[in-house]
Symmetry: C2
Subunit: 140 residues, 2 copies
DNA sequence: TTACTTGCAAATCGTTTGCGATATA
DNA sequence: TATATCGCAAACGATTTGCAAGTAA
């Protein structure tokens, strides 16, 4: 990291990045704040936001904002699709390949210069289906 | 509309829906408020929000929330993909087919019950490329 | 007539920002 | 030492909500 910008690897920035990469769930800023705070009780929420913004600009992480109203953050920077549980808001990686062909298809049909694309599936996660059987029948 | 709920077709609800369907750009609540207000100067922003929420629940319109921090609304209820200009935030429909096969691919690989999916392409719109030549070279 | 809906204004809440203090390179 | 970054708290802005008055069915 630290391209042309004069960035410093502070204890806080380090801790936030490590915590985000520890497992690939996709916490909100506030959730991440809660986790990082266990290591650094005096860190502030503003610092978490500031660093997530910087890390995202650097391409070290990615910011996810789709169906939900909260931003979610992903320690894996490469594009991949997500599935969101509409019941519990859990967000996981979707086990399907990213399609560059889709971008090309749009590119040739418009005068846009296409830079990327995001996909989010919505559904009911296994836990929610199990927890409340009958609430989410398989045939919608 | 008005399934099992006891909904009334008020002047305001009617006007909001008509205005949203007049052309298929994808206004924010506030933009739509501005337009509807020309017909009904006393309508309030809260009313616009309340009705957009209801119309969305009824499946009459859809709420779009992806890369941007503002919700955007779409008078066309059927699923379709969008392209967002990262420079001016313009949002237009993407001229590619919705792929149910994508949903199936995820369905068979997870224990989620997949309900739908959203796709948003990001890029630079023709107007922005033209307006600031050189700023957005074709080879990224 | 009834209860859904409105306009208004205040509240909410995720996120951003100003500032003086701190700590990294 | 210079200045990027921090912690704190206040500001911001989109959205939501409580309430009394208005109105569709």
């Amino acid at each position: 990291m630290c391209k042309e910008r004069n960035l410093r690897m502070t204890r806080q920035r380090q801790g936030i990045l490590e915590e985000l990469r520890k497992d690939n769930n996709h916490p909100s800023a506030d959730e991440l704040f809660g986790r990082v705070r266990k290591q650094m009780p005096r860190i502030s929420l503003g610092t978490v936001y500031r660093n997530l913004e910087i890390l995202s600009e650097l391409g070290e992480i990615q910011t996810i904002q789709m169906a939900g109203s909260l931003k979610r953050f992903d320690g894996v920077a490469e594009n991949h699709y997500h599935i969101r549980c509409v019941n519990c808001d859990r967000l996981i990686d979707a086990p399907v390949q990213v399609s560059k062909a889709l971008e090309n298809a749009v590119q040739v049909r418009t005068d846009f210069r296409i830079l990327g694309h995001q996909v989010e599936f919505t559904g009911i996660c296994p836990e929610c289906r199990r927890r409340t059987p009958g609430a989410f029948p398989d045939n919608a």
